[in-house]
Amino acid sequence: MAGHIIGVDVGGTFTDLVLMDEGGPPRVAKVPSTPENQAFGVLAAIAEAGAALADVAGIVHGTTITTNALLERKLAKVGLITTRGFRDVLELGRRTRPKPYGMKGQFVPLIPRELRMEVNERIDADGEVLTPLDTDDVRTACEFLLAHGCEALVIHFLHAYRNPVHENHAAEIAAEIWPNRFVTRGHAILSEYREYERGVTAAVNAAVQPVLHRYIERLTEELADKGYGRELLVMQGNGGTVTAELVPEHAVNTVMSGPASGVMAAAHTGGRAGFPDLLTYDMGGTSCDVGVIRDAIPQVSSELELEYAMPIHVPMVDVHTIGAGGGSIAWIDEAGMLQVGPESAGAVPGPICYGRGGERPTITDANLALGRLNPDALLAVETPVTLDHVRSALAHRVGAPLRLDADGAAAAVVRVANARMAGALRMVSLARGHDPRDFALFAFGGAGPLHAVALARELGIPKVLIPARPGITNAIGCVVADLRHDYVNTINTPVDRLDMAEVAAIVEDQMREGRETIEREGVAVEDLRCIHDADMQFLGQSHILTVPIPGPDVTREHLAALFEAAYWERFAVELPEIRPVLVNLHTAVIGRRPQADIAALAGGREDGGPQAAATRPVWFTQGWQDTPIYRRADIAVGTELNGPAIVEQMDTTIVIEPGCAAVADALGNLIVSVEGEG
């Protein structure tokens, strides 16, 4: 590969960078994130790594700018043009409430009612025009919305996934009037049925588009000022990248790109390490992200809901968030039961041990009190707090009501938290049709490796894989990600009535569109490949099963057989009397970028066996044990460690439970063999 490649990922607390150097060892940097303008953090990370931008061949950037804009509702003002009779679809949703119990709740639509305009037009489910588009209505609506200060526009018509002629025509008219490029056609973002989900996805796209555009434009300029003359690539939620120039068009695709890049890194690392089937477990301060990887390919879903009633239905790496993190607060409920979370101490006040004013014990505090974390090596401490202070808070707030001392209280917090996290992990894999025992657990994030071995034991998972650099996994994901574009079209026809020529034509169109987009991007790729899936169901069913298909030349019989086989594998049911239906066709077009060699990240010593840097008492289920503490940098390839043991590195701490053994592989991963019961 010519020149250096930089992966830079902006997280909630830190901006991480990894620079893959052609000749020398990789360089990493970790600097505080700058939420007011993420570009500052990115530039600071580049400076810290000492990278001369003129020598850099490519920068791949993961940003949370669109996710944050959505969660904080700092969005562009958007107007909607839609089919007459349906402007309230975006406000009414699909009759839900935030929680199963409790008849309260609030919902604020992304586009307020006064900015939702209706026009005369109607297309039916077969794509037939029932009422032609009233172009004067469109003009009047555009002018009204501009006069009311809208910056972006959504055009969303019923059944446009079947026939986009009216959306396209309305967009042409809007283009004559609208002063910028921020016009989103619903079907162009997502050509899938279900008007609420498609409409919200389009509204999300429009609402974050100007925000992302401004950010990328500014970052591109700043990088150019510093001498960077090559392509800036941006991570998307599907685990692939897109050029900075194109990224605002489908701005919605960048939502959830952070968790996606972590899973991409895991897929790449696991694939090379001989673990193609992984459950990924990324535990941070406030939550855990869990993903599923089969055959070194992250599972993708189009059914994500970012928050209550905000579905985003573009294909994204399927990452499920569990509300448990290092900052989760331990408390005693009215029944006298110990609870951990879902409330989190967050970054402020944070766990007690961070010395930022936190008073309520958290999972992190319990880990500290149990000797699992090194009190002298905490990253985020503001004012040092004594271990006794942490222990006394645990004894007072958790221990006293349960009649436990400080040790017992801390142990209780960790055990209850582990039991809940293990249960949640199990549900995530079962809900996707997998038994967790068939996977290895890939643990990363600041707190993932602290709990991973205990969770694996709880779940019957035989191996835990901890990568060389667990704290910069997302940045590594940026470096290894390929260019990727996804296309979905709704067909919704029983297989026996399909026009197979039409099926082939749709898939070929998807492939062509992907190829053309990658050509437009002008980024060097080693090869292009396409992955095709069919969403299918039995007639009358509402659940969808996604089945991989070979390509445009799939036959009717083959399609039916693939679905029946997949259905049997999942549910052990055969239903020969009921007809299968092809719901959606999905193609991912992937442009493979030159591979960076992650083995360079290993960086362990070449010589000698494991030498413990220290020993300290650490609590395990069996009680306190004098436990050797290793430095990750001291662990050479092939080293074997027997639990109990603790391995410390700058960005995480790894706990190897008693009875388990770990070995360092050639890529610098620690592979833990999990034995016994917790």
């Binding site: 409430r97 119990y101 008849m103 309260k104 709740g105 009612r113 006298g336 249960g423 659940h543």
Partner: protein, 580 residues
């Protein structure tokens, strides 16, 4: 038994709910019927070996089943003989601890080390169980036989083997029978998953420890519920709610809810309610009780569910009323509609007692609409079911939610694009029901207006809805939400409005005819004259209310897109004086 250590207790609690959640998941993922797989109209739980008392229940079970299954399981236990591992009962008899016939229960003894340790049970709403109309919601049935096939507890599985003879009786008596076998297998498989997971839990922690934990968790849940009840001031509270009619006799049915709070107990007396009715709006006692439990769970959502939760709730049998139905009273409306009115009466009674926790009445109807017809284009007959939401009541926290789910449900509506793909209809509008939010300091949320036009062929429309006669009630000075409305527009004829407003059956419609439905808005909370005039202005700008409506309801004068402060002050002073 010595005290259990708190960690084991917490971990076993998680373990028990995990068993139930995995049963819920297995059921939903394998189920065939969208009512179960998409609408989640099902529930799974673990029950006590002797009396069927609830031990644990899945987190995502349909709320209406919150308490019913323990009554149903108890009835099975009373009748069970010669139990062997692998036996599984099927039952849907409403009078034996059930709801309506469509809710079919599977009940299985769970053996551990050769003895019955507990019972596992689940309920799933079947799309059809026979009877006069497809789907089972006959608006004018007068006896249960018209509502479908009634099964007493019978062993559908004997030592793990399905009894093909019983199966054939069932399949010979229901519609779309060929698809049911998929659901039956899914429902049975879910209990098998539960059996496996429960065995693993017992293997790990030991029978005695788990048993002790179950007993302790029951005590703890009761303790937590009592702590919640203690926040209600001692005293007598009264609320009422009305079902529009029973579908046969056009008279409102009253639910008279008297609640006495004493110490940490709540006593519910509904004996002043209307007598049994001819039509299908009778409620069996299991559903009546469960509706009270459900209401309390909506008020205190954080209390976990087991038999201890219900111990401080004392419900007097309302015999002699329509809330204590006995054979052969028709009951199809009890789960979907009457249950929601019972909950509304509980909310109405307790809102003055806990104004910062409660809320004005939600729309509280499932909005069942069925259209059955023949599509000349495909040559096939079809049955289209639509459900709909409505506004929630305002509360101390803010305005009510628009188009919220029914009080008893958690299922989403079917997208318009899916409806139009599958059925020969065109939905001409799906819009906010303007003006329907009950006025209040915090107003109610809004209902929905939708219009269905028949594109091809002839069809028959049926409705089981409610709140057509009176809108959902306001609280603490708030006004009622807008009522439910149904109107059928037929070619060249005057509009047809069902005589019972919200319930009707077999209305003939043909190509080009339109059916208009408006669902209720939520009740308002607090004095509308106290609503922030800027919030009222915003509501006008959004078209939620007209200028004339806000002047009348909120005493706010709006002109030229602004609040006219002087006129507003005068209007409000005048209205306040009028009220006193």
């Amino acid at each position: 038994m010595t005290a259990i250590d708190p960690v084991t207790l917490a971990v076993v609690q998680s373990g028990l709910s995990q068993v139930c959640n995995e049963m819920d998941l297995a059921f939903v993922r394998a189920a065939f019927s969208p009512v179960i797989s998409e609408a989640l109209d099902r529930s799974d739980g673990i029950y006590h070996r002797d009396d069927g008392a609830l031990i644990a229940q899945g987190d995502l079970g349909l709320p209406v089943f919150v308490g019913t299954m323990q009554f149903g399981t108890r009835e099975v236990i009373k009748r069970a003989r010669g139990l062997k591992p692998g036996d599984m009962y099927i039952v849907n008899d409403p009078y034996l601890g059930g709801t309506h016939l469509m809710d079919v229960r599977f009940v299985k003894p769970f053996f551990y080390e050769g003895e019955i340790f507990a019972w596992l049970a689940n309920t799933g709403h079947w799309p059809d169980t026979g009877g006069a109309v497809p789907g089972g919601f006959s608006a004018n049935a007068t006896e249960v036989e018209q509502e479908g096939l009634r099964l007493p507890p019978v062993k559908l599985f004997k030592e793990g083997v399905m009894d093909e003879e019983i199966l054939s009786i069932i399949l010979s008596n229901i519609r779309i029978a060929d698809q049911r076998i998929g659901d039956i297998k899914a429902q049975a498989a879910a209990l098998t998953v539960g059996e496996r997971r429960f065995t693993a839990l017992l293997d790990r922690y030991g029978k005695d420890v788990v048993e002790a934990c179950i007993a302790e968790l029951r005590v703890r849940a009761e303790q937590q519920m009592r702590a919640k009840i203690a926040t209600i001031p001692d005293g007598d509270y009264h609320g009422a709610a009305y079902v529009d009619s029973d579908g046969v006799v056009d008279e409102p049915l009253k639910i008279d809810m008297r609640i006495r709070k004493q110490g940490t107990d709540l006593h519910f007396d509904m004996s002043g309610s209307s007598p049994p009715c001819r039509g299908p709006m009778n409620s069996v006692i299991a559903t009546t009780r469960s509706s009270v439990y459900l209401a309390i769970k909506h008020i205190f959502p954080e209390v976990p569910l087991n038999a201890g939760t219900f111990a401080p709730l004392h419900i007097k049998d309302p015999d002699g009323t329509f809330l204590y139905a006995t054979y052969p009273r028709p009951v199809s409306g009890c789960a979907a509609e009457v249950s929601q009115r019972i909950a509304e009466a509980v909310f109405a009674a307790l809102t003055p007692a806990l104004p910062d926790q409660l809320f004005a009445a939600p729309a509280g109807t499932s909005g069942n609409f069925a259209l059955g017809g023949d599509d000349p284009k495909t040559g096939r007959s079809y049955v289209l079911y639509l459900i709909s939401g409505g506004g929630y009541g305002g509360s101390e926290d803010g305005d009510g939610l628009s188009n919220g789910c029914s009080t008893i449900g958690i299922s989403k509506t079917t997208p318009i694009e899916v409806v139009e793909q599958r059925y020969p209809v065109l939905i001409e509008q799906y819009a906010l029901h303007e003006g329907s939010g009950g006025a209040g300091a915090h107003r109610g949320g809004f209902g929905v207006n939708y219009t269905v036009r028949i594109r091809r062929g002839a069809a028959r429309a049926s409705f089981v809805m409610d709140h057509g006669r009176y809108g959902p009630q306001g609280a603490l000075g708030g006004r009622d939400g807008g009522p439910n409305k149904v109107r059928v527009q037929r070619n060249g004829q005057p509009d047809y409005v069902p005589p019972h407003l919200s319930k009707d059956q077999d209305i003939q419609v043909a190509e080009g005819d339109r059916i208009h439905v408006s669902t209720p808005g939520g009740g308002g909370f607090g004095d509308p004259l106290k609503r922030d005039p800027q919030a009222v202005l915003r509501d006008v700008m959004r078209g939620y209310y007209t200028v004339a409506e806000v002047e009348d309801l909120f005493g706010v004068a709006v002109s030229d897109g602004k609040v006219d402060e002087d006129t507003t002050a005068k209007l409000r002073a005048g209205k306040a004086a009028q009220a006193t």
